[in-house]
Symmetry: C2
Subunit: 335 residues, 2 copies
Amino acid sequence: MTASENITSRPAEMTQLRQLVADDLVQVNQRILEQGQSEITLISDLAAHIIAAGGKRLRPSLTVAASKLCGYEGDRHIGLAASVEFIHTATLLHDDVVDASDLRRGAPTANAVWGNKSSVLVGDFLFSRAFQLMVADGSLDVLQILSDASAIISAGEVHQLMVSHDLGISQAVYEEVISAKTAALFAAACELGAVVADKPEWRAPLRAYGQALGMAFQIVDDALDYQASESDLGKAIGDDFRDGKVTLPVILAYAKADDAEHQFWLSSMEKGEALSPENLRRAKELLKKHNAFEQTLQVAHKFADAARDALAGFPASAAKAALLEAAEFAVGRGY
Amino acid sequence: MTASENITSRPAEMTQLRQLVADDLVQVNQRILEQGQSEITLISDLAAHIIAAGGKRLRPSLTVAASKLCGYEGDRHIGLAASVEFIHTATLLHDDVVDASDLRRGAPTANAVWGNKSSVLVGDFLFSRAFQLMVADGSLDVLQILSDASAIISAGEVHQLMVSHDLGISQAVYEEVISAKTAALFAAACELGAVVADKPEWRAPLRAYGQALGMAFQIVDDALDYQASESDLGKAIGDDFRDGKVTLPVILAYAKADDAEHQFWLSSMEKGEALSPENLRRAKELLKKHNAFEQTLQVAHKFADAARDALAGFPASAAKAALLEAAEFAVGRGY
């Protein structure tokens, strides 16, 4: 069975996960709104804006589901799920910061409205709030997990910046980058479930599950950037291409490119000539020609399988079913 | 005795503080260099650059001196002093981030070399490292003090951004801003000394000392921005004026301005026409005409006195003498 055959049988929504966490997520959202408040109106405004736009709360949902998987019945996971979402939101805000050179290349996003400086400072505030929530929880294990994840994420973001526009990077380097910038927070979000439930033996498998799930999500995201309709993805397609961000589909197509194609990729990704719709169309043709989407999805499937395998030791439960479904969804959405 | 008479009797260096902390500061610097390392070379490079340029290590020196004031003889203060310096450095990096509009107004600083995005992401990395150092220390009191300080600092930076270019702000709002963006970290740095020494009764007075000291330093900094020679200050003078940052000297001079002067300040600070050397010269003349420097220094003296008063309950020691000297220096330097 090829990756593309696989796709059609995947769930289009994470129905079980949504149902499992629905009640708790109301409390998480409440906590997020409360803790995003400040006497400084620009903080409250920008935080409310970015939090409202923040979408599906996937990471805090994982913390809630992992807690339930470990049989936890208290309420510590609420504050910690909010903390995870704040770290994610701060990362998004900081990821939107642009340089003058970027303004010449393409369009900035949220910070077009609020400005670079606001994005940075409000991100810092939310990041600090995340740590205040952890301190209020009072567990050094939690603080270690999330401070380690934060250091890994920021190092991964810097790594990504360093290899941006660099068509010479290998699949291994690409995987290192997304492991740090995306999968580390998924891993931490899941591991927290075992910590609040006081099940230290389940920290490693939950961490492994989250890590692999994050890889699968990011890889599929990177494929969707070239393939999805804009309504599916909730953002403009072709962003990575326009930003010169070298992702797995491009790495795979570039590896098989002939001389003319090499030239096309170099002029588009490294020299910033990617802006025209014709170039994006040509890029998509080349990815298709070299089966780069299918190969990319095969890699994503490998990680989704690893995520499922990591849960093998847990007894059957609604939470386990929901987390298995999330792994299916990671590789099945948007097609 | 007026503020200006006072000035001549103030110490030109913090000799006692420097001597007191010299040996420990070697270890702090070592820790800072170690922890600023990363496999990601851009992080190590930028961290080394900003850390080397970071100057006098005043905040970690305060943590060391406060620890000694409390009779502490262990080594926890080394890592925590490094943590304080990382938070400070991250703040500096994020403070350098500019918007496109700023590029039209004046010149950016460190991030002119490295770019906005690098400044943000490496700042995030150092901030995360700070929390990793606190987690390694293992005290929730420490984590609370520094996560609270971080939230206050970022809120203060946003507040400053909101009132930038606004000549209508009062002295009270100005003091709120600098209390958050500057004094909060001085207060935290000092309070840590009592925590590591396990002297909870000394947390409040050390916090009060640091808070007042930070106010005095920032107020004098804001005066020096219009007055110092560039070699004294270690940065270009007139930066605040060019950035449209409304500080205490300007607030005081604006309060006494006639119509023509009002117009001058409005066109300079709010409309961004401050760039010419003639405008800076005129601003300095107006500050002098209305005794704004002396009034500003009087406010700084009030805080320096409060800092000294906060130490009244501590027995005499070399550490106490050094901290008293720091309060003298805060209002005596650069003149």
